[in-house]
Amino acid sequence: MTLVSLQRAIARAVMQPLTSSERMRRSAPDGSSMSAYTARFIKPNDRLTSLERLEIYNRQYWFRLLSSMVEDFPGLRAVVGSKRFDAMCTAYLSEYPSRSFTLRNLGTGLEGWLRKHPHWLRGSRLLALDMLRLEWADVEAFDGQAKAAFRAEDLEGIAGPELTLGIQPYVRLLKLHYPVDDLLLAVKTREDEGISFASNAVLDRRKHFEVQAVARQKPARVFLAVHRLDFSVYFRRISHEEYVLLSSLRNGKSVQRSIESAFHKSAVPPADRALSVQHSFQTWATLGWFCQPDEKLRAIKNK
């Protein structure tokens, strides 16, 4: 047996989902009994059968991956419920095993997968997808690239109709159907409080709190910039016009064209727009969101 064929056989068994009692399945990936399958590759010893020895790795695999998903998506877990969350992640990771060397990227394909399998989200599809997008933006904002920022004074004197500005890669822009930023902060605060008192009573109270908080969610259009300041991630609510303006700048459009897009059919009175834009630009420059634009993107988009 070659090295690669042995590794494929072992990986298939290790990555096979556990039973509901968190044990190794009794049927192997090839349909044979797992005892016979494992005995072909793994030596038993005086205390453990071949299956029991490989089961250690099978359990470690799922415990590690599921705990990583729980860590990255506590809000989504609160929305769909912890049992359903575990089952959903198991299904997701079975279909899309990790293809990255780092667990940080485990949730990369989850949104796309959930859009193909919406039954996992039952009646809370939009709320759950909003929460997932927010939590993934949180991950990206935490360790995303930061280019050299333009300061407010750098912008003085270079304004012109074709001026383009880049937006820092770590700034993520979201259009949401629910105010999931408030919900996520509440879930995280509650989680932090529970860490020191991890009794069943505390866990029950947390679960009750999450159920109540999710049930209270009412639809509301929210525009959000998930960003980083002094190495901490923040959720900043922005207006629809600001969202369009920032998105347009990110896509390589000029400042002038971005402002035009932002106020197209806007309810903001024309007389107030200049001051509003000036205020927004000052704030974003202070936060360090502006940087050199992506030259290739700008060339393509302004054609």
């Binding site: 090295l3 072909r40 030596k43």
Partner: protein, 283 residues
């Protein structure tokens, strides 16, 4: 071993693993620590707090990189994106050597994120050594491979674990990160004498030693890194140091992490053995 080509001609003493719960303490109190070991993957990112902290640590301390996902023993080629990011980090830290595990964990581009044991075959040794060489040539720094703790053994194995380790490092001409806790855990799980392992490895290639705690279950021992080092592991460490001489030593404590002082105090216990070695050499 004292300064040699496998450790970048360094003479590092006792280090501890750099872990997030200790960041604030280290940056504010600036404790005297000979060196820190970082998990490379935690810093192979584009920006943010982890790199900011690392840069501050690098201003004051020596740092050595230790990886968990190179999977020298996986039959597939190294992941190019992984190598590119790793090289960027190597340039940043100026690590004198780089270590990762003698194990496999990915196949056909799918990652288990675990340190799976190798089949101890000549084919596996040849392929693993070839991969170690490729990685070293790309990164242009000395590589040390670490023995893992294991809970399973394969029928196809053609040699013992220590013979396999020697075979790989000879063919790859690389160093060894000798984890004496892993040797103890595997010895208990597989029923071999851990001192035989320590006595048979190529001592001249030992770049670094890991010490750690483990957890005992009814039928096996698990490498959990959540306890102080236990006496049988210290005895193995003592024997290893007798064979290798003064060697960079690192305490791993990755779960239920206590205060910085407690971790550091535990690591410094290694001094009694290192001091004896220094005395023996002087005599």
């Amino acid at each position: 071993m004292p300064a040699n080509r496998f450790n970048g001609l360094t003479d590092y003493g006792i280090g501890i693993g750099l872990r997030a719960p200790h960041y604030e303490h280290i940056l504010s109190r600036k404790p005297v620590v000979d060196w820190f070991e970082i998990i490379s993957e935690n810093f192979m990112i584009d920006g943010g707090r982890p790199l900011h902290v690392l840069d501050q640590i690098l201003e004051q301390y020596k740092v050595v990189q230790h990886g968990v996902s190179m999977y020298f023993g996986s039959a597939e080629k190294p992941n190019r994106e992984h190598l590119r990011r790793l090289k960027e980090l190597v340039k940043r830290t100026n690590t004198p050597w780089l270590s990762d595990h003698l194990c496999w964990g990915s196949v056909d581009g799918r990652y288990t994120h675990d340190l799976l044991p190798m089949p101890y075959t000549f084919e596996a040794a040849r392929l693993t050594a070839q991969k170690v060489r490729e990685v070293r040539d790309f990164l242009e720094i000395p590589i040390a491979v670490e023995n893992v703790s294991s809970y399973a053994e394969y029928h196809v194995s053609e040699m013992t674990e220590w013979e396999f380790l020697n075979e790989v490092v000879e063919q790859a001409d690389c160093g060894i990160l000798l984890d004496v806790n892993n040797i103890y855990v595997s010895a208990q799980n597989h029923g071999f004498n851990p001192f035989t392992y320590v006595n048979r490895i190529s001592a001249a290639r030992v770049t670094q030693i890991h010490i750690a705690g483990h957890s005992k279950f009814k039928k096996y021992i698990l490498d959990t890194h959540d306890h102080p080092v236990l006496d049988p592991v210290w005895k193995l460490y003592e024997r290893a140091i007798q064979r290798t001489g003064h060697t960079a030593t690192l305490l791993e404590w990755d779960d239920s992490i206590p205060s910085f002082e407690e971790v550091h105090r535990e690591a410094l216990k290694a001094n009694r053995f290192l001091a004896d070695t220094a005395l023996a050499v002087a005599v």
